[in-house]
């Protein structure tokens, strides 16, 4: 589904990703872990099409397409979704307007008809129940005045509504209390299927207690320095990131 080869990215002229390789197959959940400043968030945003980040080398294939040639909105309509680490507040634009615009954009791209207001409302209300969000959130401005946890829930609400083929979650777990974390994990797990894949960017292991990854990659200094199964996340939890960075230093 997603195949990344030797991806190198500069941000404001500075190399942030220095050669990333990994592959995500349909149905898989990959966790990208790593210390602050390792490039995790840059990777997530580059996959979603952030234009200010300059790809200097490498290839990203998404199914049979060159992902890097697509605009962010084209990627979205082909089934890529990024849950933001810091969701943006948009005053004056209601949540329901954005949700409906997003869903209809995806439906149009798949050749499906747009949903009318009634059908849309029925679907979105159902998803809100899953996310334990009161209905009033539909009519509030996008993320405006939402708490940190509410913003993250709102991201996952968009995720479950849009049901993408590839979901990238950028530190969705950070700042969440345990109850909110369970709700978020529940939303993600409700979507797991053999056709749908996930890339979870996270600093901590605890999200992986609720969403079991197939592969764990450790990012440091702009590249993947170690990959493994779920047990790698537990190792990191116990030993911190220091030992990997030291190991790397020793090897270099």
């Amino acid at each position: 589904m997603l195949s990344i080869t030797n991806l190198k990215v500069n941000v404001e002229g500075k190399p942030i990703l220095t050669g990333i390789d990994f592959e995500v197959k349909p149905g898989e959940v990959h966790a990208i872990m790593g210390p602050n400043g390792s490039g995790k968030s840059t990777l997530a945003q580059v996959l979603a099409g952030r234009e200010q980040f300059e790809v200097v080398d490498g290839r990203v294939r998404y199914f049979d397409q060159d992902l890097l040639a697509l605009k962010p909105e084209e990627r979205a309509r082909r089934g890529i979704f990024l849950a933001f680490q810091y969701p943006v507040e948009i005053p004056g634009v209601s949540n329901i307007y954005l949700l409906k615009s997003a869903l209809n954009a995806a439906r149009r791209a798949r050749g499906e008809s747009e949903l009318d207001a009634m059908d849309f409302l029925a679907i979105v209300k159902d998803k809100m129940k899953l996310m334990e969000m009161p209905e009033e959130f539909l009519y509030r401005a996008v993320n405006e005045g939402f708490s940190g946890g509410e913003k993250k829930r709102n991201e996952i609400l968009q995720l479950v509504l849009l049901a993408p083929r590839l979901a990238i979650l950028d530190e969705t777990d950070s700042g969440l209390d345990i109850d909110a974390l369970k709700v978020v994990a529940n939303g993600v797990n409700s979507l797991r299927s053999p056709e749908r894949s996930f890339v979870l960017v996270t600093h901590y292991q605890r999200l992986l207690d609720y969403i079991t990854p197939d592969r764990v990659h450790v990012l440091a200094g702009g590249r993947i320095v170690k990959s493994g199964g779920q047990e790698l996340a537990l190792d990191l939890e116990q030993r911190g990131y220091g030992w990997i960075e030291n190991q790397e230093g020793a090897r270099a």
């Binding site: 605009k71 962010p72 933001f84 948009i90 634009v93 954009a105």
Partner: protein
């Protein structure tokens, strides 16, 4: 010959030709004021870039030729005003004259008077002497002088003591006459002690002609009065507009001004709020959206003359293409105006590299126990926000439109008259989100 003096002579000629037919022609004090104003104009002419207050606004396109008062011979169909008609008490004015056939003043409660200036000048001119006579605010520049010399009609709104008028009063001013004509409006709003009302002025033009609208509104709030005053500029992109609002606030009165400019090739609005007595409060809310070659100038002055006054001034502008906006915000706190609480903010969103915004806060504080804050910014669309919306599958143009709309949201939300706010939102959204359905956005 002095440059422009032949144009001035044209105005003088017009004045001598037309004065005897202007309303109130037989009223000696009014004749004096008119003649005096014309004289002032003959001396001063139009303001130029050399005048400090007009440094960024070049009125040469207006001043280059004589603009005679519109003849008032155009008959408008009632259908023409449908886009501007809302439920309430509505007076319509066309090309310098009250248009009774298009107006629907409706039933007014006791104590409220809604009249045409020309009618008052004909029947009871003394009622207007405090505003148009010797005590009148002297003309500060040529446009104000011409307004006094040539004023023909406008609205007189009188809200009697203690009356709370539920429905808004809509005043619609239209320009439809000959190209390069001028239309002069003079309005008066008096809110007596303890009254409350909402008055909405809308200025619009119909054809693509380069009319000049020259409009002045005097506003007087007596003690404890509350007035919501909207001023909406929706003229065509070739029209010119020079307007002034001069509000005087008595003790514990509250004045809210909402000034919106969406049209005109060149529009200037001077807004003066004088907080004359203790405890007065004003909110000056402003919004403008410009494109093409538009030039919008908001020139505001708030004068705190008494203790415990509060002023809030929030202006926002969105500029596209090669358009230009000027904001001047002068706040003056007199020595006796202790415990004044003043806040001013002016923010611009620039959508193109050629657009230009000039923001000039001017704080003059002569009292020592005051709170006074101001801020001004000019920025571009936030790239992260744009990215966020695009990752939701929205086209870049759609996403940009929504973010501009979001920028304006707080200014629009302060406008409490729903049909009016919706009309502004609709016009703005229609421009920003061409091709997208805006119906649901505006719920």
């Amino acid at each position: 010959m002095i440059p422009g003096s032949d144009v001035r002579l044209g105005y003088q000629e017009d004045f001598h030709r037309l004065e005897s037919a202007l309303p109130g022609a037989g009223v000696p004090w009014l004749h004096e004021r008119r003649a005096e104003a014309l004289e002032r104009f003959m001396e001063q002419g139009f303001p130029t870039l050399k005048h400090e207050d007009w440094k960024y606004t070049d009125v040469r396109p207006i001043a280059a030729r004589r603009r005679s008062p519109a003849a008032g011979d155009v008959r408008l169909d009632a259908r023409a005003i449908v886009p501007f008609a809302w439920a309430g008490h509505q007076l319509v004015f066309v090309d310098g004259r009250y248009a009774p056939a298009l107006s629907r003043p409706g039933g007014l409660p006791r104590g409220v008077r809604l009249l045409s200036l020309a009618a008052v000048l004909a029947e009871e001119p003394l009622m207007l002497e405090p505003w148009l006579g010797r005590e009148a605010v002297p003309a500060r520049h040529g446009f104000e002088a011409l307004n006094t010399a040539f004023m023909r009609d406008g609205a007189v709104v009188w809200i009697g003591r203690g009356v709370a008028l539920a429905a808004p009063i809509y005043l619609l001013f239209l320009a439809s006459g000959a190209p390069e004509s001028a239309v002069y409006w003079r309005n008066l709003i008096v809110a007596e002690t303890g009254s409350r009302a909402t008055v909405i002025e809308t200025y619009a033009s119909f054809d693509g002609a380069a009319h000049l609208t020259n409009a002045i509104t005097d506003v007087s709030l007596e003690s404890g009065a509350l007035l919501e005053h909207y001023r909406l500029g929706r003229e065509g992109d070739t029209a010119y507009h020079i307007g002034g609002t001069r509000a005087r606030l008595a003790r514990d009165s509250r004045y809210a001004s909402h000034a919106v400019t969406l049209g005109a090739r060149l529009a200037r609005h001077e807004l003066d709020a004088v907080l004359d007595a203790e405890g007065a409060e004003c909110l000056l809310n402003g919004f403008y959206a410009t494109h093409g070659q538009q030039h919008v100038d908001n020139h505001t002055r708030i004068e705190h003359r008494a203790p415990h006054g509060t002023s809030r001034e929030w202006y926002k502008g969105v500029l596209d293409d090669r358009s230009r906006a000027v904001f001047s915000g002068r706040i003056m706190v007199h020595p006796q105006a202790q415990r004044t609480d003043a806040e001013q903010a002016n923010h611009h969103l620039l959508l193109s590299r050629e657009a230009e915004a000039d923001s000039r806060p001017q704080l003059e504080i002569y009292a020592n126990d005051v709170k006074c804050a101001h801020g001004a910014t000019a920025g571009h669309i936030d790239e992260t926000a744009l990215f966020y919306l695009r990752t939701r599958g929205l086209d870049e143009s759609h996403a940009r439109g929504l973010l501009v709309y979001a920028f304006a949201a707080d200014v629009l939300a302060r406008m409490r008259v729903a049909p009016l706010r919706q009309a502004v939102e609709q016009q703005l959204a229609g421009r920003l989100l061409a091709g997208e359905s805006v119906k649901e956005l505006l719920k």
